[in-house]
């Protein structure tokens, strides 16, 4: 079979969806990290999960991965309960950098091959198709020249790309990314965002937790604002507003507002607001976010 000749799926054919219904998670030590969280996401979506540290972003990921059992409510992935969805290889996960032991003796290509394990028999013997898909994934993130390196030898951005390649090789319909933009350079960030857009076009559903407020309107069509519960969820234009962000971040954000004559000497009464939690700032001009020019 010629793997390359596989027909591309129409976006809806993947049928990727995430549904949280009244989800509450309480840790064994009694901390309720998330209470009554509900939101629904459809195929072909990039959704940002935004909130301060400790607002429960990672907890939501853990619930979606079945690491923590909901104390109330439920999670459904593509209409299935979590365990059934994981058995079907529906979800790919790109971990936070702190969660990985970078001294582990594995090479770049072996990490990407781990993405194929769920498609192999129980002895995990790679077939030609598996090797081909690993090559493709490495090529797509531009890490082919580094494939024989031990993972600890890479830069922060390269490490992220390797794990992204693994999720490509896995071909999960749903891709979860926990803080993918922390500690990487702007160029890698742009490359990753470009890749996420391609995946969206192919019908994948991506949930991305981030502090990087500035780039959210750039590439996320949905936003879930979190603070121990869902404060707001929906299309970016409706949810990612100044008022909502202030609710989500309270006093944590730095907020610079320049208005009227400080800004320019004309009739334009709009003010310029800069919100930042010390990563890429979010800029409101007259109450609207400014998408970058490259937005399609």
């Amino acid at each position: 079979m010629n793997v390359a000749a596989e027909p591309r799926l129409a976006p809806d054919a993947l049928g990727a969806s995430i549904l949280l219904r009244d989800l509450s998670v309480t840790y064994p030590n009694g901390v309720t990290a998330v209470r009554d969280a509900s939101f629904a996401l459809d195929p072909g979506t990039i959704c940002a999960l935004v909130g301060v540290n400790g607002s429960g972003k990672s907890t939501i990921f853990k619930a979606i991965m079945g690491f923590v059992k909901p104390s109330a409510g439920e999670v459904r992935l593509c209409g299935l309960p979590v365990d059934a969805a994981l058995k079907k290889n529906i979800v790919a996960y790109v971990p936070q950098s702190e969660d990985i032991d970078w001294n582990f003796p594995v090479l770049v290509e072996q990490v990407v091959m781990m993405g194929r394990y769920g498609h192999m028999n129980f002895l995990r013997m790679p077939s030609r198709a598996d090797r081909y898909k690993v090559d493709q994934a490495l090529e797509r993130v531009g890490m082919n020249d580094w494939r024989k390196r031990q993972i600890g030898e890479l830069s922060g951005g390269q490490k992220k790309r390797v794990f992204l390649a693994r999720s490509l090789a896995q071909e999960g319909r749903i891709i979860l990314l926990d803080e993918p933009f922390t500690g990487i350079d702007v160029k890698t960030e742009a490359a990753i965002i470009g890749l996420l857009r391609e995946l969206r076009a192919a019908g994948h559903l991506m949930l991305v937790s981030t502090h990087n407020l500035g780039s959210v309107p750039d590439f996320c069509d949905h936003v879930v604002l979190l603070n121990r519960t869902v404060l707001a969820a929906g299309p970016t234009a409706e949810v990612f507003t100044r008022a909502n962000l202030e609710r989500a971040f309270g006093g944590v954000l730095r907020d610079f507002r320049l208005g009227g004559r400080h800004l320019h000497d004309d009739d334009d009464a709009r003010s310029l607001t800069v919100l930042t939690d010390d990563e890429r700032p979010l800029v409101f001009y007259g109450g609207k976010t400014q998408p970058r020019e490259d937005e399609p």
Binding site: P28, N29, D101, F104, V106, Q170
Partner: protein, 290 residues
């Protein structure tokens, strides 16, 4: 055949020596397999912990007249469960939990052996005595080692993914809780087997040193496992052989051999050895200063 060769061949002519050599090799190999994982997870002390935790199980087994592997095995499982439980229900760090559980069980074992003096020879448990191993013990050890090897051969990649990145392991549908339980069960069983060859005190070397040595020699997990098993098997076989000429102390000889090989790798390993690092530094310095 020259006199020397005849002399060196002597251990192979005794049934008990042959038995000691192949049992040691088998146990050394499977412990080395496990060492590849333990060392990477920072769980090296787990081997020590299990080795000591087993003592009350052995004392109890002697009291009620059960096979000593059975008592040891249940004590090992109890120790693993206790460690998992304390870790989940408290915010203590792993090393504190391990230290707490294993000293508690070891103390219990010493207490039991002193309150009810039995035929338990504590020295046998602590130092091992492969040269005098009984036939039914050989059967126990061989079964444990063979089953453990078979399980590890089937699950080694799944365990690697689980220990490397548990979230990913779950995302490809692996039952990581089950895999952990399997791993610790195998570890407990192999610790019991290793007790017989090297004793409770030196079990830790069997489940750490080969993996640590291999780690210095390769960046690929598959090779790490292969090298580790080879080191464990060969050192245990040769160690048992040499102990014939040194009159006993098999555990000491095996672990000394493993340590020698570790030191060799530590200095001479092609990429991660001390000398290689020094050479690299000299090259960079030489390149910088014309």
């Amino acid at each position: 055949m020259s006199a020397l060769a005849a002399e060196l061949w002597v251990p192979f002519t005794y049934g008990y020596m042959l038995k000691a050599m192949w049992v040691s090799a088998l146990v050394g190999g499977v412990c080395a397999f496990l060492s590849a994982y333990l060392m990477l997870k920072g769980w090296s002390l787990m081997g020590d912990a299990l080795g000591h935790s087993i003592v009350p199980g052995v004392a109890a087994a002697y009291l009620i007249g059960a096979p000593f592997a059975v008592g040891a095995f249940f004590a090992g499982i109890l120790a693993s469960l206790a460690m998992n439980f304390v870790k989940q229900k408290s915010r203590l760090r792993e090393d504190a939990v391990i230290g707490l559980v294993f000293t508690a069980l070891f103390a219990l074992g010493v207490l039991m052996a002193s309150i009810w003096p039995t035929s338990v020879n504590i020295q046998t448990i602590v130092l091992g005595n492969i040269l005098a191993i009984a036939d039914e013990d050989v059967v126990q050890v061989a079964i444990i080692a063979a089953v453990s090897l078979a399980i590890m051969a089937f699950l080694w990649k799944d365990l690697m993914v689980t220990f490397f990145d548990e979230s990913h392991a779950r995302s490809i549908g692996l039952d990581t809780t089950f895999l952990r339980i399997v791993f610790f069960t195998v570890l407990s069983a192999c610790t019991v087997a290793a007790l017989q060859t090297v004793g409770a005190c030196l079990v830790i070397a069997m489940v750490v040193t080969p993996g640590a040595t291999a780690y210095l020699l390769t960046d690929r997990f598959g090779w790490l496992v292969v090298i580790s098993i080879a080191l464990g098997t060969v050192t245990s076989f040769v160690g048992a052989y040499i102990s014939y000429f040194l009159d006993g102390a098999t555990g000491g000889v095996i672990v000394s051999l493993q340590t020698l090989l570790f030191l060799a790798a530590f200095w001479l390993a092609p990429r991660h050895g001390v000398l290689a690092a020094r050479r690299r530094r000299r090259l960079t310095l030489g390149g910088a200063a014309p």
